[in-house]
């Protein structure tokens, strides 16, 4: 009986991909192990290998087709001389995928969600960094980060990128794509798997005046290197009486991705933001990712730059400007409102935006503050908003105890206690290691329903 070959999922978070190229044509004999086609995600190009034997009876999705959803039948394999009509007509029965994926990506499979997430951004006041009438270009967060690095590397020969798979592999998450080609192996440096070592090496180079961008494949691995981030990078300026600093950027994806389990799903915003001598940045939009990363690279202080894997593929408008810099330490009011303040950043913004849209239907007007920088925190922006609304919900994916939300609550209590009409509610990741099972993982993370409920609770509405 003919079998369908389905569009395979190449990573835990992949929902669609491009069928880049067929390597077999209709009528070709196929045996197990043959490479049938190349599939491209925004992260990598991978090969689809045949599992079954037979003849490639029919190609259903042509070369170059974009946005092919996972599990879509892409071809039919039949036994020799067999009629393929049966398979084609039985697509609805969704047979199990009969193709295996070879050439696994980096240690972590990367997501390739390419959803457009600018909903409700229309109410956002223009960012003060962007002059009115500036031309905008649609850019993914991933591209924005890459552009920021490339621009700064063109500008300053002391800037270099170092980390695992940043050069020849083009970045485990494709963030450093093309940098090796433009800047060469002297400035785009693949390291062995040696976080403690290369973080220390980078900080030493920064002592000597270079400006390293140290990529952690994910921030989970920065725990191997945390001594150099905290003890070597953050404290040297103070311990040297101001003589010697560490102009270094530690960057990479932070927090939960999708279905990667407890050791690969941790949010470090609270950890690093508790350390004097560090700046901690965590953008949401592509424009902020670009402008803040450029600012971080130029900053003479060590900056921990927390990206988010889920956001890498999301697109936003980025201003076309010669030198677009977003200042570190300034929050952005994403949406003005009068009833309740949401304070969040990075992926937390996705919950806040959706919740605000739902609440709007019930006549609740939400103000969303995108913190952008966790340290130094723009407390004034939070306080101003809370004084206006009298109510606040914080949203983060990190753990509740000693989280960034706890810090925000303390600051509000210290400076705007009398303006509060209700106790602040923190929406956080649950106080558990990240589970693997899909349903449990969903429960462990914040969700829009929780944010909506919290907003109503601080408004005493049900």
């Amino acid at each position: 009986m003919p079998t369908n070959i389905l569009m395979p999922a190449l990573s835990p978070t992949m929902e669609q991909g491009k069928l880049a190229k067929w390597l077999k044509k209709e009528g070709d004999k196929i045996k197990s192990g043959d490479i049938l086609a190349e599939i491209e995600t925004d992260k990598a190009t991978m090969e689809v290998e045949a599992v079954d034997e037979g003849v490639l009876a029919k190609i259903l999705i042509a070369d170059g087709t974009e946005n092919v959803a996972v599990n879509t039948p892409i071809a039919i394999i039949a036994n020799e001389g067999e009629d393929v009509g049966a398979a084609a007509s039985s697509q609805a029965s969704a047979p199990t995928p009969k193709a295996a994926v070879v050439a696994a990506p980096a240690e972590l499979a990367a997501p390739a969600i390419v959803t457009h997430s600018q909903a409700s951004g229309s109410q956002a006041p223009a960012s003060p960094e962007i002059p009115e009438g500036t031309q905008m270009v649609t850019t993914t967060v991933r591209e924005a980060l890459r552009d920021a690095m490339a621009e700064e590397m063109r500008r300053d020969g002391d800037v270099f990128v170092i980390g695992e798979e940043v050069a020849e592999y083009q970045g485990a998450y494709k963030v450093t794509q093309g940098l090796l080609q433009e800047f060469g192996a002297r400035r785009v440096i693949d390291t062995p798997i040696t976080e403690h070592g290369f973080a220390g090496l980078g900080v030493g180079a920064a002592f000597a005046g270079l400006k390293p961008i140290i990529e952690f494949m994910t921030f989970n691995f920065s725990m191997q290197a945390i001594d150099h981030i905290v003890n070597s990078a953050a404290k040297t300026l103070y311990m040297s009486g101001g003589q010697m600093g560490s102009p270094v950027v530690f960057r990479g994806p932070n927090g939960a991705a999708a279905r990667v389990g407890a050791q690969h799903s941790q949010d470090f915003a609270a950890w690093y933001s508790s350390v004097p001598g560090l700046k901690v940045v965590s953008p949401y939009t592509a424009a902020d990712a670009k402008g803040l990363l450029k600012a971080a690279i130029r900053d003479p202080n060590p900056v921990v730059f927390l990206e988010n894997e889920i956001l890498y593929g999301q697109t936003f408008d980025v201003p076309v400007m010669d030198d677009f810099i977003v200042p570190i330490g300034k929050a952005r009011i994403h949406r003005e409102g009068r009833d309740v303040t949401f304070v969040t950043w990075s992926i937390g913004m996705t919950y806040a935006i959706k919740a605000a849209a739902e609440l709007e239907k019930e006549g609740i007007d939400v103000e969303i503050i995108d913190l952008r920088t966790i340290r130094p925190m723009d407390t004034d922006a939070i306080i101003r908003s809370v004084m206006k609304t009298g109510r606040c919900v914080t949203i983060e994916e990190g753990y509740p105890q000693s989280g960034v939300g706890a810090e925000i609550v303390a600051r509000i209590m210290e400076r705007a206690f009398d303006y509060l009409d209700a106790p602040v509610i923190r929406i956080t990741g649950k106080d558990v290691p990240m589970p693997y099972a899909a349903n449990l993982e969903k429960l462990a993370l914040p969700n829009v329903g929780e944010v909506v409920a919290a907003a109503k609770a601080v408004l005493y509405r049900s």
């Binding site: 040696t194 070592g197 090496l201 900080v203 002592f207 040297t236 040297s240 009486g241």
Partner: protein
């Protein structure tokens, strides 16, 4: 060879093993036997600098006892020949980085004794304005990159200094000092790997003073020949008599040239000895007084030079007394400054956190 090669003792038998067995080792040889002779000027230069470190450290110990120096204070007494011999081979621009036993390194790099001592006492005239302390001092001007309190951290950082030199294409070398204890940290081998992979100009100087705090090398290290610690990375290494400043300088010349010529890293195991405790609060239960005394009597790095100077009539007893008096005056001046200099202004609490 010297008493720096004490035999392994079983744990808990420190007193019983009063007489350390001394192995006759074929290498490392004394500098003189290696053919490196110092000129009279070099002998006197080495003598003066080693004496400065010795007297400075003795004074530090004294001031610690008086409560003028707080916290941790790790003295370099006994190891002077290592840093002095190494620095005699360095050129302007070469970087130095070390761990927490760093007073000697700073003096050998030419940093002001007053500034070092005032840092030990936590005063505003200290090299870090009183905010670093004994373990955390730096001098951009003298290319001294600390002073690091976390054992082994300086090895990765020092490799980064070498990376910067390679990146810039200059011929400066990074002199990265660490002890036999730090040599067991994982990041040391991460650094070795990258240094050799990228041919970074770094001399790894392992100051093997026989004890990581109170744990003897034999109780902590599976491979006690530290010059071989780079073997699996193809990093050449050699053992050096770290009590003989001539041997140190000879090895330094060779190692530094190796690095400067673009051959990658080099390891020097300096066999030396620490007379004083690990820090001021060391109970000294892990070794005998006799062991320490024996090294002092037979292998003191300063006495070795002094004897050579007198034997070779490079200077008279009176000349040496004058040098001694001069060194004592420098140290006395540093101590006085460090005692009378005011503490940092309270406003300094909030400065230098960010640029």
């Amino acid at each position: 060879m010297a008493a720096t090669r004490t035999s392994a003792r079983s744990a808990g038998s420190a007193k019983a093993g009063a007489k350390p067995a001394v192995k006759a080792a074929a290498k490392p040889a004394r500098g003189g036997q290696n053919g490196l002779q110092f000129t009279p000027e070099q002998e006197l230069e080495a003598y003066k600098m080693m004496l400065l470190i010795r007297r400075f450290e003795e004074k530090s110990g004294q001031m610690y006892g008086m409560g003028l120096i707080g916290g941790f204070c790790h003295l370099y007494i006994g190891q002077e020949a290592v840093v002095v011999g190494m620095q005699m081979s360095a050129k302007e621009g070469d970087a130095v980085i070390t761990g927490y036993r760093d007073h000697g390194h700073m003096l050998a790099c030419g940093m002001d004794p007053k500034g070092v001592m005032a840092e030990l006492t936590g005063r505003r005239g200290g090299l870090s304005k009183g905010k670093g302390g004994s373990m955390h001092m730096f001098s951009k001007e003298k290319h001294f990159y600390g002073g690091h309190g976390i054992v082994g951290a300086q090895v990765a950082l020092g490799t980064g200094l070498a990376f910067a030199n390679a990146y810039r294409g200059n011929d400066n070398v990074s002199m990265t000092y660490f002890g036999d204890g730090a040599a067991n940290q994982g990041q040391v081998y991460e650094s070795f790997n990258m240094a050799q992979l990228w041919k970074l100009p770094v001399v790894y100087i392992i100051e093997n003073n026989r004890y990581a705090m109170g744990t003897s090398v034999s109780r902590a290290s599976a491979q006690q020949d530290f010059s071989k610690r780079g073997l699996s990375f193809n990093i050449p290494g050699e053992q050096v008599d770290g009590m003989d400043v001539r041997a140190v300088k000879a090895a330094a010349e060779h190692a530094i040239k190796w690095c400067r010529d673009g051959n990658g890293p080099y390891i020097l195991e300096m066999q030396t000895y620490r007379y004083r405790g690990h820090s001021m609060s060391d109970p000294a239960k892990y070794r005998t007084k006799e062991e320490v005394q024996r090294v002092r009597d037979e292998n003191d790095p300063i006495e070795l030079v002094r004897a050579r100077i007198l034997k070779g009539k490079m200077a008279s007893e009176d000349d040496l007394k004058q040098i001694d008096a001069g060194v004592r005056a420098i140290v006395a001046e540093a101590a006085e400054f460090a005692t009378n200099d005011p503490e940092p202004d309270p406003s300094e609490l909030w400065t230098d956190i960010l640029v």
